[in-house]
Amino acid sequence: MSRTLRPLLNPVLRHRMLWPVVILAALLLLNLFFTNGFFKVEMKDGHLYGSLIDIVRFGAPLILVSLGMTLVIATCGIDLSVGSIVAISGALACLWISELGDQNSIGGVLTAVALGLGLSVALGAWNGFLVAGIGIQPIIATLILMVAGRGVAQLITDGQIITVNSSPYKLIGGGYWLTLPFGIIIVIAVLALTAFLTRRLALGLLIESVGGNAEASRLAGIRSRGVLMMVYAFCGLCAGIAGLMISSNVSSADGNNAGLWIELDAILAVVIGGTSLAGGRFSLGGTVLGALIIQTLTTTIYSIGVPPETTLLFKALVVTIVCLLQSPAFREKAFRRRRRPAAAASASAEEEAGEERVGVSA
């Protein structure tokens, strides 16, 4: 990087999305070298087919959950119960469909979807009530439903896996529309809705304000209780949609395993995307990138054949690197140490670039 390029590149280098994009690109690049035909996208049975499509398709539930989580985290909260809501919503919808006379009846499936989503919103609102109405710390308030919710899901499924055979329901998580996986279309719709509510309308400003300084927001006349209720309910809704998607994808509801630990992946996606756990500023685009990074990592592990015994270690390594690169404090330290003594030396920039490459592929 020459001296004349620096000022031009600075806005790019300072952009908070830079590192997530670099990491995602690095992961994809890894696949380019190790996996044959990873970037091949073909038409099969009238829809798109390929690894890249898989990443988005399997990542769709995580993206949805992470979007809801982003708003919750922006209010300086956290929602641990999303995994349980995923299980409950899928379980309830599948239970309803399994008891339909005609599982392919569109009306019946729509009712099932409405029931699942309705209950999810209600559970989210319950979280919101505990946090905003009673004033319990978010991590404790949502822990209640995280633990109890699994029990509720098991209660609905009676501890069994409910299998359904309904083509309209199958569409949600496993179907295609206009050659695209339907899940992707849902994600785009929810993302657009979220962006509209927060950035077009003023919900985002109020969320960031409540998360940045709750007392100051109250004194500015913001109804923070209402904002919090809405955010938690929305998070419940997102988890509910994800739950339908996951159960629809395998045409069955598994109260024990559906959405297990998805809350942790979602929190990770939000953090990788550059939203601080301390609340305030949030980035929807960053969260989508974060979720895609996590899913790409998972798919990469499957396709390059990392042995199962070492997958967790491999994941941990990559996530550590990602988090370090996302931390301004670390970057400051890592890059400043080299910049200071070598301020005059023109080799410093190249050195930096070299280290990055080593860091990511480690």
């Binding site: 400003l205 109020l206 100051a216 004194l219 006349g221 200071r340």
Partner: protein, 510 residues
Amino acid sequence: MTAPAPILRMTGIGKQFPGVKALDGVDFRLLPGEVHALMGENGAGKSTLIKVLTGVYDIDAGEIELAGRKVAFAGPQAAQRAGISTVYQEVNLCTNLSVAENIFIGREPRRLGRIQWRRMRQRAAELLARLEIDIDVSAPLSSYSLAIQQMVAIARALDIEARVLILDEPTSSLDAGEVAQLFRVMRRLKEQGIAILFVSHFLDQIYEISDRMTILRNGRLVGEHLTSELSQIELVGKMIGRELADLERLGAKPAAESSESSAGKPVPLLEARELGRTGAIEPFTLTIHEGEVVGLAGLLGSGRTEIARLLFGADHAGTGSLRIGGEQVSLRTPRAAVSRKIAFCSENRRAEGLIPDLTVRENIILALQAARGWTRPIPRRRQDELVDKYIKALSIRPPDPDQLVKNLSGGNQQKVLLARWLILEPRLLILDEPTRGIDVGAKAEIQRLVAELSDGGMAVLFISAELEEVLRLSHRVGVLRDRRLVAQLENGDDLTTDTLTETIASGARS
């Protein structure tokens, strides 16, 4: 005065922030055994210079020498180890920890890895005794007043073997007695050869304690002078870079004609009858008319802020009734007050006012947006109009609506907070210590603004610890003592700071 070699020398310091040149070629030196005042308006670069010196920021240009050796501190700890200790403007302590823990946090006396609690408490008590403070050091810091907390912060800085002590606005929340106490300590430290860098907006204090001063304006050095050789008027002129006519014009009291007009108003804007809240403020009765400025005077903790909070609905009133525009109301939330066109600038702008991570624009439109509800966003063009108008009107610096508020200086933050409420066009504006911790120029601007607003028909409840300021602006002054509104005095020629002080001291109802 034959100057000894400076302990600290900064040459050609430059520091750039995105969109702001905070420091530009500034030279500064500090001699051992002197109290050196760093002067300048808000945004002149005082805080940045201090942060550069203590390693919080890197410098873009220039160099720093400590005791003749070139240094570059990686952070505040490194600066502290080298003997540069700092007490910041806003107290940066952990209020949930005990006093002793606060003093020794991060360097607790240990033996075999275990903290020696008894020794720690003992030494904390000794240190505070040096500042002539006798308190229970094992009690949590939050149980003491801001003033005591400030002293604890100083004690913490003193414990480290300091060669340079930086006091950034240490006196802004101290009363006269406490200031005198602090100055005694400062003089003792001076005799021990410690160099003290002192920042304060109280000119009287500067002239009482400092030996020399360095003046900054807009990130540049204006000059270095012996305090004894520069008059106050000259100093202020150098700081704001213009003549003082504006300031002096404000000196005239607004009282006489306005008090007549307020008496003529049939329905008062606000009427509080026996309004009170247990443990906060005894029941009080207060009326405020349109276009009237009512000042509240009293010591720290006398109940001034509590009155403001009740009138704004920030706290619930336990007793009494409140009428606004003749209508009986019960303010259960700030939102209810806002919808009745009441606005409140809290004294604690960091905790209760601004959202530091949001931009100037977002902070300014926040209250208006909250009042409209999230479904009715303010169109971008309207936002730009409003924000630009108030950035200009209040001369907020830097005039960049997309700058994060946390990057602004204290006075400019205060103006942003004011702008937030002014765009709501309130009928009653409650200002709690709006001029605390901000410089002469900004102070004058805010005072002038208050006068203009009240001329335009807005009612203002003005709370300040500075009696001169209260007298200068108010038509009527309420005096508080021990959580009671003890007197309401019409501001006439016979009302002086002395009579106010007397009333505060005696608590007599007149």
